[in-house]
Symmetry: C2
Subunit: 309 residues, 2 copies
């Protein structure tokens, strides 16, 4: 078990403020929080704001649970690039005697992991992942591809931290575009601009930045360099709690990575390209608290008008 | 890995109908589905219907993620009574060499479980579980106790099945009452009646039944008998897909089980009692399809008026 990242003094102070006001409810585990009513009200309003921003595209909504088939995680090579962030689900398959032994260990908070075996599900690491096999199952894509609204989905990252902006379980408000390379690329360009506008409209200091994923290990550093050179990932960053800025939205162009893995085919049988965008709803909520204070009733009218039109 | 329960012919037929209409989107794993737009619209309307029914009580909303601390699961003895349903989260803690070996196995869909170790989180087995430690942390309860609206939370049950009414991941619309024994008991009585009224108002054939939890093993049979004798659990059942009726809501009186485990104290220092109610949102949605057809636009006006007032 890695010890949790303690977070900076500013991050700890923000967490303390949020807990004191009942906006976040701590658990025994760092990065796992309940959300009080005002926090949820803002988070849901942000999800709806994205829904309105996406409405002209008429995306098809599909809501997915926070688990995906283990086989799908294996197919996309997630264990190669992000082994440190994945969460797999184990369960008990034993008899009554084994159950009794397991229960005795658990009652003493001792190690009962030996009685658990791997199931065929894992925690969803990114809200776009369940979209690809669902679309692949439909057969070849129509010309122009598809746009899927994957809703506001809980995703898991195994990175315990006392930084309230680094939760183990948080909501990505996710849209996915799958189709021909030019169509997909253009979609991502459009959304990069629209996202900065949307977040600036909330009174946030929002900046678009070239970015890379937190790939694992030495090989990961090369992947990150390559990803940046090809401009595959952009993030919108904003201040939350120092030092530095925090990513609150990201835009990823996957080329044919998922199209290949799941055999999503264009009309000519070649693998489809894909891109996704994800707004980190908890992080944007935190950024709004940091920018405008902890009582949304007192936020600028222009910001409230965007959230609750 | 247990093979999935195949489900009856009626259950398989219902699943086929739901998939054909895009109401459920299957994955490679039985019991794990995406939800199409009409399904979600009904599910959310049901959650809101419960919100309106609960409004006079002015419950305090707290929304929790679908993971809880492993220690909390151990504390309440879940591994003793429901070891077969629990899901624990494992993750990778190794070095680059171990990551490479794990990734190679995963790429071949071979067994990489040896590289995973237990984390300090587990999947939430019931939506009321995270409420108790959160309330315990506040200190002694006020006179009259508290009523918590735990929202519409995803919970996990390790029971792969092709019965669409038996999902591995589904939403419980959950309310929790914690306080003096008489207060808690009276609350559960009130909600038993209110739930039958609410579900009958949706045109469902809703019946209140004495029930027991699906406890594990031989010892579990005794627990079930005792639970029934003390009338600790009631369910509202309705037809979905035969044979028999399916529970769509449950009302549980825990006596001081959680109060003891988490040291939730009444004013006199004695352990608080608790009760919870959970509406199974996916099951109620399925029951509505079974009763009124697959197009909510064509449902009786009285039903639509309840859902979308």
């Amino acid at each position: 078990m890695p010890s949790a990242q303690p977070g900076t003094a500013e991050q700890q102070a923000l967490l303390g403020d949020l807990v004191e006001r009942g906006l976040l409810v701590p658990s025994a585990v760092p990065g796992l929080y309940g959300r009080g009513a005002p926090f949820e009200r803002i988070r849901v309003a942000l999800a709806d704001l994205v829904t309105r921003a996406a409405a002209p595209e008429q995306p098809e909504p599909i809501a997915f649970p926070p688990l995906i088939p283990r086989r799908d995680l294996e197919l996309v090579g997630y264990l190669k690039t992000f082994p440190h962030l994945a969460g797999s689900v184990f369960s008990f398959e034993g008899d009554e005697q084994a159950a009794a032994s397991q229960s005795e260990l658990a009652a003493e908070h001792a190690d009962w992991s030996g009685y658990q075996s791997m199931t065929d599900v894992v925690l969803t690491p990114a809200a776009c992942y369940p979209v690809y096999p669902a679309i692949a199952a439909r057969g070849r894509l129509p010309v122009g591809g598809v746009t899927i609204d994957a809703g506001a989905a809980y995703v898991f990252r195994h990175e315990p931290s006392s930084d309230p902006a680094r939760m183990q379980m948080f909501h990505q408000r996710e849209m996915v575009r799958i189709g021909e390379p030019d169509v997909v690329h253009a979609w991502r360009e459009t959304w990069r601009e629209k996202a900065v506008e949307t977040l600036s409209g909330l009174g946030l200091d929002a900046e678009l930045e070239l970015a890379n994923d937190p790939f694992f290990g030495r090989a990961g550093r090369m992947l990150a360099t390559s990803q940046r050179a090809q401009e595959l990932k952009f993030e919108v960053t904003t201040p939350i709690a120092g030092p530095g800025r925090t990513a609150v939205a990201s835009f990823n162009y996957h080329q044919d990575h998922f199209g290949e893995a799941f055999h999503i085919e264009l009309q000519d049988g070649s693998p489809a390209h894909s891109a996704c965008l994800g707004f980190g709803l908890e992080r944007i909520t935190l950024a709004l608290f940091a920018a405008h204070g902890f009582s949304f009733e007192d936020w600028p009218e222009s910001v409230r008008g965007q959230l609750w039109p």
